[in-house]
């Protein structure tokens, strides 16, 4: 069964933008608490640009849509999250090249995205970064039927809750050491919105 069509994918990006704008202040506040206070601003700017870009182009494949998104994120976000999200979507795009995006292809794409984030950011699982969320989601999708994929929202939430009490050891939050405990990692939160949007669009057809 097809998980993502070109339309789904464009819609996915729009749903992400919607959420990033809606939660811009929340993400910025999270980043003010354990970072430098620009994450919400970065995400809102980045995905706004992504939507602006893809709306003006007609694509022949999901892979191409995600490639546009990846390139735009790399060029418009900056900071730590830009290269990481850019890499994630670029790897997805590459894994989907010349393919219809069914369950299997999507799972492989997520796997590659996670590897991409890992190589680029060099964070291990449990260092309290967005990597934690992506890793958990990828593992979950592999195990579950598409029908069950809404479940990934609980997975994200659970991960965010689990990592809340961790000490960050990568990214700006790591400067806080013990003081990073008890705060939600901003990048994990923005990743949650990315996957929330995904569920939204996958449900969209039915």
């Amino acid at each position: 069964m097809i998980v993502l069509t070109i339309e789904h994918t464009k819609r996915w990006m729009e749903e992400i933008e919607k959420r990033m704008l809606e939660h811009k202040d929340q993400l910025t506040e999270f980043d003010q608490a354990i970072g430098d206070g620009d994450h919400g601003i970065n995400m809102a700017r980045g995905f706004h640009e992504v939507v602006a870009k893809i709306n003006h182009v007609t694509y022949d494949s999901v892979s191409d849509v995600l490639k546009s998104a990846a390139m735009t994120l790399m060029a418009k976000v900056g900071g730590a999250s830009g290269p990481l999200y850019g890499t994630a979507f670029l790897k997805m795009s590459m894994a989907m090249q010349g393919k219809e995006v069914n369950e299997e292809v999507f799972c492989q794409a997520m796997k590659d995205a996670v590897d991409g984030i890992h190589t680029r950011g060099k964070a291990e699982f449990g260092e309290k970064t967005l990597y934690d969320v992506w890793k958990q989601v990828a593992d979950f999708l592999e195990l579950e039927e598409v029908a069950e994929w809404q479940g990934l929202l609980e997975v994200c939430q659970a991960t965010i809750e689990d990592t809340r009490e961790l000490v960050a050891t990568k990214g700006r939050a790591s400067y806080l050491k013990e003081r990073s405990k008890g705060h939600v990692d901003p990048g994990s939160m923005s990743s949650f919105y990315i996957f929330e949007a995904l569920v939204e669009v996958i449900d969209w057809e039915e």
């Binding site: 910025t28 003010q32 970072g35 430098d36 206070g37 620009d38 601003i41 970065n42 700017r45 790399m74 060029a75 418009k76 976000v77 900056g78 900071g79 730590a80 999250s81 830009g82 290269p83 990481l84 680029r120 950011g121 050891t169 990568k170 990214g171 700006r172 790591s174 400067y175 806080l176 003081r179």
Partner: protein, 330 residues
């Protein structure tokens, strides 16, 4: 928040235009980029020096573009590393055939974005080397951490590398002297008040009326501890002791930078420098040169940082070599 701006989204763009229109003969902005370059770049046969980072640290980095220092500065959004495509444009614009050195401040985002740009440039056949500045002793440097941050000491790296390149050295030589400077420079800062990002609209953190944050980062990242505000002499002593403990004191010749973070008046920076000079003298050290002013700021944050660069013959010469920039003078 009260700021003299038109629109938070355009602060970087308008700032860059304002800067260039104040120095039309020396500086140039690459069209449709956030890159400021020497008007005479690229300089045939000279190693190009490119630095940059998030905006909000003015005069860093564009204020250090000019003969004897940087060939290009890449400005990101406020407190956000610039993107690889912009950095790539800068590299291409200043490569005079002898290769380009990237001077990167040690932050996850900066390192990732500059490295990606380096990879792209190398794919285009440009010889690129990079160094990562990590002078902030407020952060411990160990294999379990992401290492010390790059703050005001970066300006000395710009100066030394720029002078070496101007003198016609090879990319390897310029990189070597930059790394030598990085190994010899240590800094630490203190904040009396937070900064406010234009787009955030409210302070990044809050300090009580009698509090200060020792070891603050230039993006408002937390420092070592939040303690009661004490006298200028006491604060200076706290910072200096921490800095000197982490510096190779082999050499008794040092360069000093007392750097204002934004809102702290120059009067107070000079009061700090008085104490710095006294402490160093008492330790038998010889202050070769001192810079007091704003070099690596953090928007409107109140506070300052102290930087000590341990010197040898070679660094001394390069440090005082003639330079022509908007914000750094010898």
């Amino acid at each position: 928040m009260k700021k003299v701006i038109n629109n938070a989204e355009h602060v970087v763009d308008q700032m860059l235009d304002g800067l260039v229109s104040a120095h039309p003969d020396e500086l140039k902005r690459l069209p449709d980029t956030t890159v400021i370059i020497r008007k005479d770049a690229p300089i045939k046969g000279k190693v190009g020096i490119v630095s940059g980072g998030g905006s909000g640290h003015e005069p860093a980095h564009a204020g250090f573009v000019g003969r004897g220092m940087l060939d290009a500065a890449v400005a990101g959004e406020v407190f956000t590393s610039p993107t690889p495509d912009q950095i790539l444009e800068a590299i291409k614009a200043v490569d005079g055939g002898a290769g380009v050195l990237l001077v990167i401040k040690n932050y996850t985002g900066d390192v990732m974005n500059f490295e990606m740009a380096q990879e792209m440039a190398e794919m285009e056949g440009i010889q690129v080397a990079s160094v990562v500045v990590n002078d902030d002793v407020a952060v411990e440097d160990s294999t379990f951490t992401i290492g010390r941050r790059g703050i005001a000491g970066t300006v000395f790296v710009h100066k030394v590398a720029g002078a070496k390149a101007e003198a016609g050295a090879t990319l390897e030589e310029v990189k070597a002297v930059a790394n030598q400077t990085i190994a010899s420079v240590r800094s630490m800062g203190v904040a009396l008040s937070s900064c406010t990002l234009p787009a955030a609209g409210k302070p990044s953190f809050t300090l009580a009326e009698n509090e200060m944050e020792i070891g603050i980062g230039i993006h408002g990242e937390p420092g070592i501890e939040r303690v009661a505000l004490v006298s200028a002499d006491e604060i200076t002593t706290i910072l200096l002791n921490k800095i000197l403990a982490e510096i190779d004191e082999e050499s008794s010749d040092v360069a000093v930078m007392v750097n204002g973070l934004g809102s702290t008046p120059e009067m107070e920076l000079h009061i700090v420098n008085k104490k710095v000079a006294e402490v160093l003298r008492d330790k038998g050290m010889n202050v070769y040169r001192t810079w007091v002013g704003e070099y690596m700021t953090s928007l409107d944050m109140a506070g300052f940082s102290i930087t000590i660069l341990s010197l040898n013959e070679g660094l001394m010469e390069l440090l005082v070599e003639d330079v022509k920039t908007v914000a750094f003078h010898v």
